[in-house]
């Protein structure tokens, strides 16, 4: 997604610096926790036991830990090596593969969706064209007809494309997660991230339940410099989401980010409420939300799997924002989610400032874990 950004040089340097800083924090705390294990010449049985412990302590869970170790052991046997350098390479590869499989699958579904959206737009375009032809045959004959499906100006940010009438459609992101995972802060960071890329952003304060949530988002909106659409506390969250998408459509905003109330995945009523928010967004703009991200606290243990499953069943999750990685928690359950459900990690949050944020890259991240 970074590649779509058209930035000024200065900004570019600034972003790179921020990303580097954000990653630096994970390196100092979580990073390198695997490197010590490989500080020996030959791999022993004790090594595998130590590796298992390390992975379990990082919250990868029993199943993924066993899978990674078994596969690595098998490859080690295949290559007939006990040199720690080789084993490190093998194991590193296994980890990257686990993460990238999820990433690739998500990428494939993004492409499939883009194709679907294209087809939908094509039908819309044809209908609109028929209508126009009927109304204004002359113009078409003269060749002054402008295809409304002309490619948009090179996108600087993820774009939902243009509508039948040629108007710009906002790209809608819905942010969900359990209470206290860091949704509101992550939204501020996402907003800043897209602002840096040159896009216009609007936030929707659809967490109308928690006391102070609306104020919190408004304060962040003020700091980042993006408008926040809100109603009174306790009002219908779906209506707020609708208002926000409508605002973006009316004002030609590029990106809509909808905050939602924290909810435990086992709360039937609240999960239904979230589904309703999604349906209303879809009503406000067909094809939206284009992206639904689950915010996951890195300190979360194996319950993260339950979160991913339930949220995914309810609204379909496109990716995970792994937050609070500036602590000592490694967020290993996100690896387990990627492995079990092929849901990729998209972004990482590493602090309370809006710049403490980076796009997740499997290779770079795994490398950071091995850094000495």
């Amino acid at each position: 997604m970074f590649n779509f950004f058209r930035r000024k040089k200065q900004e570019e340097a600034e972003i790179q610096e921020r990303t580097r800083e954000a990653l630096e924090k994970t390196r100092t705390s979580g990073g390198g926790f695997l490197s010590r294990l490989f500080e020996l010449d030959d791999i022993t049985d004790q090594f595998w036991e130590d590796l298992k412990e390390t992975l379990i302590k990082a919250d990868l869970g029993y199943n993924l830990t066993e899978k990674l170790i078994q596969q690595s052991q098998k490859r080690t046997l295949d290559e007939d090596t006990t040199r720690s350098k080789d084993v490190e390479r093998i194991f590193r590869g296994e980890m990257v593969r686990t993460l990238e499989e999820a990433q690739n699958k998500a990428q494939a579904s993004v492409l499939a969706n883009a194709e679907k959206e294209k087809q939908r737009r094509e039908i819309e375009r044809r209908n609109a064209e028929m209508e126009r032809r009927r109304k204004d045959k002359v113009q078409v004959k003269k060749g002054t007809f402008q295809s409304p499906d002309a490619p948009p100006a090179a996108a600087v940010i993820p774009s939902a494309g243009v509508g039948a009438q040629g108007e710009k459609r906002p790209y809608v992101i819905m942010v969900v997660g359990v209470n206290g995972s860091g949704k509101t802060t992550s939204i501020a960071k996402l907003a800043q991230y897209y602002r840096n890329g040159g896009g216009s952003v609007v936030l929707g304060a659809a967490d109308t339940f928690r006391a102070g949530a609306i104020d919190q988002l408004k304060i962040w909106g003020g700091r980042v410099g993006v408008p926040v659409i809100a109603r009174a506390e306790g009002s219908d969250p779906a209506s707020v989401a609708f208002d926000t998408v409508k605002y973006a459509n009316d004002n030609g905003t590029d990106i809509v980010i909808i905050d939602t109330a924290g909810r435990l995945q086992t709360n039937f009523n609240l999960m239904e409420e979230m589904k309703r928010v999604e349906r209303v967004i879809e009503k406000a703009q067909p094809g939206a939300p284009h992206e639904i991200v689950l915010v996951l606290d890195a300190v979360t243990g194996q319950n993260g799997l339950s979160q991913a499953k339930h949220f995914s069943n309810a609204v379909g999750i496109d990716g995970v924002i792994l937050t609070k990685l500036d602590g000592t928690a490694k967020g290993g359950v996100a690896f387990a989610i990627a492995n079990d459900m092929k849901i990729p990690i998209k972004y990482i949050g590493t602090g309370e400032k809006v710049g403490d944020f980076a796009e997740f890259e499997a290779l770079a991240y795994v490398n950071a874990l091995f850094e000495k």
């Binding site: 919250d59 359990v178 919190q216 606290d297 993260g304 379909g316």
Partner: protein, 489 residues
């Protein structure tokens, strides 16, 4: 799902009972299963290992070796040991003999501190105290607003100085405010912080130094993974904890963090948060968490909830009645009411794999407007009968029928239909009582049986319902089936 650990342990010990002795290797295998179960419940690995060591000692004892069911016995040992480590009895909040009692809340970001300040305050006020909540979280945007909003909702005073002054200063001045305001409990809300953030941890020490709290409570999210140990140890080292509040226990987290935190700090877990509302705080029950850690917790909670609707003893009585055929109209309408109340419960049950589909169908069936109307009508008819008539429906002759119809605002034929359906159902129950119960009945302890009867009432025309499936009437062409949920993309 239900007793995975029991199942696995039984697998390990299967076929060994005849042999009369268990090898150390069998024990090792069993302990591996216990280890896996604890890790999956997020008990810290270090805590798990020392826990296992203690279990192993007991498990190799005579009892298990000669027992008839070693698997179950190991589970029992683990369960008992868990309760022991978690602390046998529920520990109360420390209150200072000299007012005010000062409570300080600490923890990571997003663990639920602010919400639990409000919950504690509300609980204490209920106990006759006059709490003051103090907004010392100057970090998170709108944290002060959040506490003030909660204060307004509960009508409990909040002391705040905005976000400019330093928290240790705010806390100090809050003590004076409390003395002037006559508050006998002060609850300090502090900003969430990472235990490795030295600057913020130092600030916390300062808040402590300025206020000398009687109670320093660590707020821990029940969903916390392996890190819970490091967090608890460091907070304990820096400020000295006196207790723990385990939050978000209304979810499906197994809550292994409770064991980890307790094991490394020795500090008791005093409360658990069980919902978003400000009254959702409960004393901590070690036994409940123990079974939850072992993977039986959800079921226990669910059974408890179900029991509010379907009391076990009552269900048994009902089954007895069904067997004897003394099931009367009063029981009938009673069951109808309970099924109605089950709406939210069935939603909860629907989240469990296995049980889910059936319960969802039942809920959808019960939520149609037709079903609602039918229920109220049936209830009205039965309520228009005398007690004697309800116990003894055969009493009801044609003049009684007229009276009942008038009383409930229905046609005499409706009363006739109901009575006929009831008789059919009673007959059905008699045969069922001897033979096998329908599936739902087995699950809900009698509820399903009534459900079957209910179905019978609804399908008025058929005199001999052949199905005992509670959903039978609804499956056949009734509107309001499962709403097709849109699968995204």
């Amino acid at each position: 799902m239900f007793d995975t650990l029991s199942d696995k342990l039984e697998g390990v010990f299967r076929g060994l009972t005849g042999r009369g002795s268990i090898s150390p290797e069998d024990i090792k295998k069993a302990m591996n299963e216990v280890e896996r179960a604890l890790i999956e419940a997020d008990v810290n690995l270090r805590v798990t290992r020392s826990f296992i060591a203690a279990i192993e000692e007991e498990a190799v004892g005579e009892k298990v070796l000669k027992g008839l069911n070693p698997g179950q016995q190991v589970v029992k040992i683990v369960n008992d040991k868990l309760i022991e480590v978690l602390g046998g009895e529920n520990e109360k909040l420390i209150t200072s003999p000299q007012a005010p009692t000062i409570i300080m809340m600490v923890g990571l970001q997003g663990s639920g501190k602010t919400t639990h300040v409000a919950k504690l305050a509300r609980m204490l006020r209920k106990g006759g105290k006059r709490p003051l909540m103090v907004a010392c979280d100057t970090q998170r945007p709108a944290a002060v607003d959040q506490l003030q909003t909660l204060g307004k909702q509960l009508n409990i005073p909040v002391y705040s100085e905005g976000t400019e002054p330093r928290p240790p200063e705010i806390a100090k001045r809050a003590l004076d405010a409390a003395r002037k305001g006559g508050n006998d409990v002060i609850i300090l809300d502090t900003a969430g912080r990472l235990q490795i953030d030295d600057a913020l941890m130092t600030e916390l020490e300062e808040v402590k130094g300025n206020t000398k709290p009687h109670e320093i409570l660590l707020v821990v999210d029940a969903m916390t993974g392996q890190e819970s140990v490091n967090v608890a140890e460091e907070f304990n080292r820096r400020v000295g904890l006196t207790g723990v509040i385990l939050t978000k226990m209304d979810g499906d987290a197994r809550g292994g963090a409770a064991l980890s935190v307790r094991a490394v700090t020795g500090v008791p877990i005093k409360f658990m948060g069980t919902g978003e509302k400000t009254d959702a705080i409960e004393p901590f029950y070690p036994d409940r968490i123990a079974s939850r850690i072992l993977g039986m917790g959800d079921i226990l909670t669910l059974i408890e909830k179900a029991q509010q609707q379907f009391d076990e003893a009552e269900a048994q009585k009902l089954q007895e009645k069904m067997k004897k055929g003394s099931f009367d109209l009063e029981d009938f309408v009673d069951q109808l009411r309970k099924i109605r109340k089950m709406g939210s419960l069935s939603g909860l049950l629907g989240l469990l794999p296995g049980v889910g589909k059936q319960m969802k169908e039942l809920r959808n069936a019960l939520e149609t407007p037709e079903a609602e109307r039918e229920l109220s009508r049936t209830e009205a008819i039965v309520m228009s009968m005398t007690k004697n008539e309800r116990h003894n429906p055969d009493l009801i002759d044609s003049s009684r029928r007229k009276r009942i119809a008038k009383g409930s605002g229905v046609q005499v034929s409706d009363v006739n239909n109901l009575l006929q359906q009831f008789r059919t159902m009673r007959q059905m129950m008699r045969s069922m009582g001897k033979g096998e119960m329908p599936n739902m009945g087995a699950l809900m302890g009698g509820g399903g049986g009534a459900g079957g009867g209910f179905g019978g009432v609804n399908s008025r025309k058929s005199n001999q319902p052949k199905q005992v499936d509670p959903l039978a009437a609804y499956k056949s062409g009734k509107p309001g089936g499962p709403r097709p949920t849109k699968k995204k993309k």
